[in-house]
Assembly symmetry: C2
Homo-oligomer: 194 residues x 2
DNA sequence: ACTATTGTGGACTCAACGGTCCTTATTTTC
DNA sequence: GAAAATAAGGACCGTTGAGTCCACAATAGT
């Protein structure tokens, strides 16, 4: 029923490699050759397994989004307080300012590069943002329950506030703004919520 | 001393057209042919006048940045209060959410697309952001003088806060987030400063 | 009018792109 | 072990990318 030569590569592992490449360079700037190199497979294998560069990209977004949301969830579960979680989140974002490779966030990058002219991509990004936002929503709810958040602003707006600020910080990091300027900014954002 | 055939096109006008194209589609996604079409000139004329696609892009960024900063300055000069100016600024950003073409801001777009792998571009973007930020700095200073801003946070941090939030809002607009979600966000941002 | 100088149009180059397809290899089922 | 099925390698394809070059056009100074 399902005979035939078995795959010589792990589809999940190869997808992960593709995702890393797209994350690093974006969609347009990543050539098929780049993908073949990092995924370590031949052109026909790639097309056989994933269909096209575009489909592979969509799957990469999904892969990123899932692991991202999972890591965030784990971080939240391991945090003592909502506030501690949020501080860690923001500081992780600006910590990239001192590193050489500023990959940012694949979802933010993609939103800026493609969302406005690729329906399928836009949908995948929005879905990813939604998943990530859900973890943040939990954190906000927890913060309200812990009475750490005194703000009367609605939970949803606070979530959007965090998402917006994370995106903004990411853009500034990518632009090359120095970390010393970003730290007071993080403090200010924290104070407006907690 | 300076004989020869005169140019049949206006270099500033053509540059403006190129800038609009880059603004709409980004650097990579704009082909030379696209540029020739919107600028209405032949390939040799373009290379003669601007050198290369890359140089033309750098000049486009500069063109954008100048007109942008000027418009912002004008808006500030025409505003009754610092607060009114800032509210207009933020609302202008999210007003794009209801329009079809979501061009965003060329500086933010470029920061996300190219800044991390193109030194010259990164420099041009940072310079542009700086010019725009300077207008915002004036607005913040004015807000402090008018005593509309009670925050003890330093002017520079407040400026970065606005820049970061504008970038964040722009990304959300581009992602396709609905305007009804963005309006409360703008209100919240305003309240954290004024 | 002639020359020097600059602008313009378009044919051309060459490399890279995403994608297809055909041959060959490897496995399972019967 | 033959047949069916799937994987892999790589030659191949048409298109498009940015950029070059050359012949021709238009101007200013002499």
């Amino acid at each position: 029923m399902n005979p035939g030569r078995p795959r010589e590569f792990n589809t999940e592992q190869a997808l992960e490699a593709a995702m890393q490449q797209f994350w690093l360079a974006g969609y347009e700037a990543t050539s098929l050759q780049d993908l073949l190199d990092v995924m370590n497979l031949s052109k026909s294998s790639l097309y056989h397994a994933y269909g096209s560069k575009h489909e592979l990209f969509l799957r990469s977004i999904d892969c990123y989004q899932q692991t991202s949301a999972n890591e965030l969830q784990q971080s939240l579960d391991n945090s003592l307080t909502s506030k501690a979680f949020m501080k860690r989140l923001l500081e992780d974002v600006i910590s990239e300012a001192t590193s050489k490779k500023k990959k940012g966030c694949l979802l933010v990058n993609t939103a800026n590069e493609l969302s406005h002219r690729d329906k399928a991509v836009s949908k995948a990004v929005l879905n990813g943002i939604d998943n990530v936002a859900n973890v943040i929503k939990q954190a906000i709810k927890r913060g309200k329950k812990e009475a750490a958040i005194k703000s009367t602003v609605s939970t949803d707006t606070l979530v959007n506030y965090i998402v917006s600020n994370v995106s903004g910080l990411r853009t500034m990091v990518k632009s090359g703004v120095d970390k010393t300027e970003l730290t007071p900014l993080v403090n200010m954002i924290m104070k407006t919520v907690y």
